[in-house]
């Protein structure tokens, strides 16, 4: 019998431009220590460690999983690094889930840190992910490539920049209740529209900040739940899928999974929801922490996850369907749009979803959450993951 897997404790730092009072490894240590404290555990209670570390060129020390070993109490334990770009923080949860579910380990600590502003050349780093022969010469990085997709989506579904701005206003407002969030505040649609154009249709306020911060989550089997956590969040569903590197293959009639509408997320969601017993997401799921580095990204995922039909999510946005008191609370934390420490952003989505189920989300807690979904997105949406956290054990998965 596969083991039941549950979240025992979580930690996230404040996210901001820089943490000059700490080094990278000290940030990771804060997260490891914080999650252990939240779960009432000591390093000896941890059987294995999964390190959440995306491109290290942002913070400069290559492959800093090694640099971090001592600080996260890793010496003497099995430890692996997982890296799927922005999806890293989703993939680490899936890796840790598999390690516990298989019975290999009783408890696994997921931990990571990020400091993108250690270099002023972050966009140059992101340009380095492209094919050197055909693509790197062009001004391609995450903002411009998502902008390419966004223009096609908006043309297809008659979505305007004001639709996107409505979401930015909502999430910055929600983030005011989240002490960890980097960007927050009462802004207007006019403020978003007046922010400087970066890559059409994205203006500065449509884009996430470059965040520094750290996060950790400890997961364990049912025995460890009995010992350490009276109100856990059960990891009931996981689903992930990857797609072609070539953007030009994914926006044409022969595409395997149309990138303009993010059909790939439907595949990840279907697998995840099947495992979690979710057949009617809008009525079974109360919180969706979708990974939205840009204003367009999160709601497209909601469409593909079956919360609404394709092309309708931004119209529902303008009816306040996704607000904290709407049909489903979408990113009540403010989301990746308000804080993007890339290496742990997906993990923060998972932590936020788990905390909502455990009732520990603090000022942005949504009442009576039975199920919450978290997603993560990596590369130019080549890596997608979807995870459902539930208050009840889903046994038949």
């Amino acid at each position: 019998m596969p083991e039941v897997v549950a979240v025992l404790g979580t930690y996230q730092s404040q996210f901001k431009l820089r943490h000059p009072e700490l080094t990278f490894v000290e940030q990771a240590q804060h997260a490891a220590f914080g999650a252990l404290q939240a779960a009432g555990m000591t390093p000896d209670d941890i059987d294995a460690i999964v390190f959440s570390l995306a491109p290290t060129a942002f913070m400069g020390v290559a492959d800093a999983d090694r640099w971090s070993i001592d600080h996260i109490f890793g010496a003497g334990k099995p430890m692996m690094r997982v890296h799927t770009g922005g999806a890293t923080g989703g993939s680490v949860v899936h890796a840790a889930h598999a390690l516990v579910r298989s019975g290999m380990f009783r408890t696994v600590m997921i931990v990571g840190a990020e400091r993108i502003s250690e270099t002023p050349d972050a966009q140059k780093v992101l340009n380095q992910i492209f094919d050197p022969f055909y693509e790197k010469e062009m001004p391609l990085q995450t903002i411009t490539t998502v902008a390419l997709m966004a223009n096609a989506y908006m043309q297809r579904h008659a979505i305007t920049q004001e639709h996107l701005a409505h979401l930015v206003v909502r999430q910055r407002r929600s983030a005011m209740n989240n002490p960890h969030a980097h960007l927050k505040g009462n802004i207007t649609i006019a403020d978003v529209m007046a922010s400087p154009m970066i890559s059409y249709p994205f203006k500065r306020f449509d884009c996430c900040p470059r965040s520094s911060g750290s996060a950790a989550m400890i997961v364990g089997n049912l025995d460890s739940v009995r010992e350490h956590q009276s109100k856990p969040a059960f990891i009931n569903g996981v689903g992930s899928v990857s797609d072609s590197n070539w953007i030009g293959d994914r926006i044409v009639p022969t595409a395997h999974a149309d990138f303009i509408d993010w059909k790939l997320m439907a595949l990840a969601g279907r697998e995840c929801f099947r495992r979690a017993g979710i057949t009617d997401p809008i009525n079974q799921i109360q919180v969706a922490e979708v990974y939205d580095a840009f204003s367009i990204q999160g709601l497209i995922q909601l469409e593909q996850l079956g919360f609404c039909s394709s092309g309708t999510a931004f119209r529902l946005e303008c009816d306040d369907a996704w607000d904290i008191d709407g049909m489903v609370a979408v990113c009540p934390s403010g989301g990746t749009l308000c804080s993007n420490p890339i290496a742990v952003s997906g993990l923060v989505r998972a932590i936020e979803a788990a905390n909502q189920v455990m009732g520990t989300a603090g000022g942005h807690q949504i009442p009576n959450v039975r199920n919450a979904v978290a997603t993560a997105v990596g590369g130019i949406a080549q890596f997608l993951s979807c995870t459902v956290f539930g208050a009840d054990i889903m046994k038949e998965h």
Binding site: E21, G60, F133, M138, Q141, N151, A152, P196
Partner: protein, 168 residues
Amino acid sequence: MSGNTAEPARGYLTEQVTLRYDYAFGEVVGTFMDGLKNRKILATRCSKSAMVYLPPRAFCERSFEKCDSWVEAGHEGVIEASTIVVRGFEGSRPPPIAVAYVRLDGVDSAIVNYVEGLDLSDVEAAMRRICPGTRVSVEFIDEPQGSITDFHYRLLTDDGSAARAGGR
């Protein structure tokens, strides 16, 4: 370095890293680049799946068979996705820059390049002129070198002919 005296920074150690790379072409990239020198955009085709790929591939990602022929892509095509980069990334050309993924005639996939000859003074108006579905033509530079910047895209003129300022 931090530029913010409010932060309790104890100091910074500054490093600048320069790394050099020579990316080997291999057969497929090499054939494509040689084609550019002759003002040809060469795609690979798999006879089993009938897929035609740009950028060219050694193996078909649908049939998992070797792509078994080279075909010349048309010098016109349709924009599948486009954007205008206004600021925020200091690439090899100063913004504003228009880029588009174009599916060239006879090819199944789209390949990215600059869109030249577009008035970018009004970004909104320029975006409307390069919206998905718009047909464009390929224009080569005067002396192709065997690199991706040997060609770029250009809007067709109102009468449907290619607005060519040079090249073939």
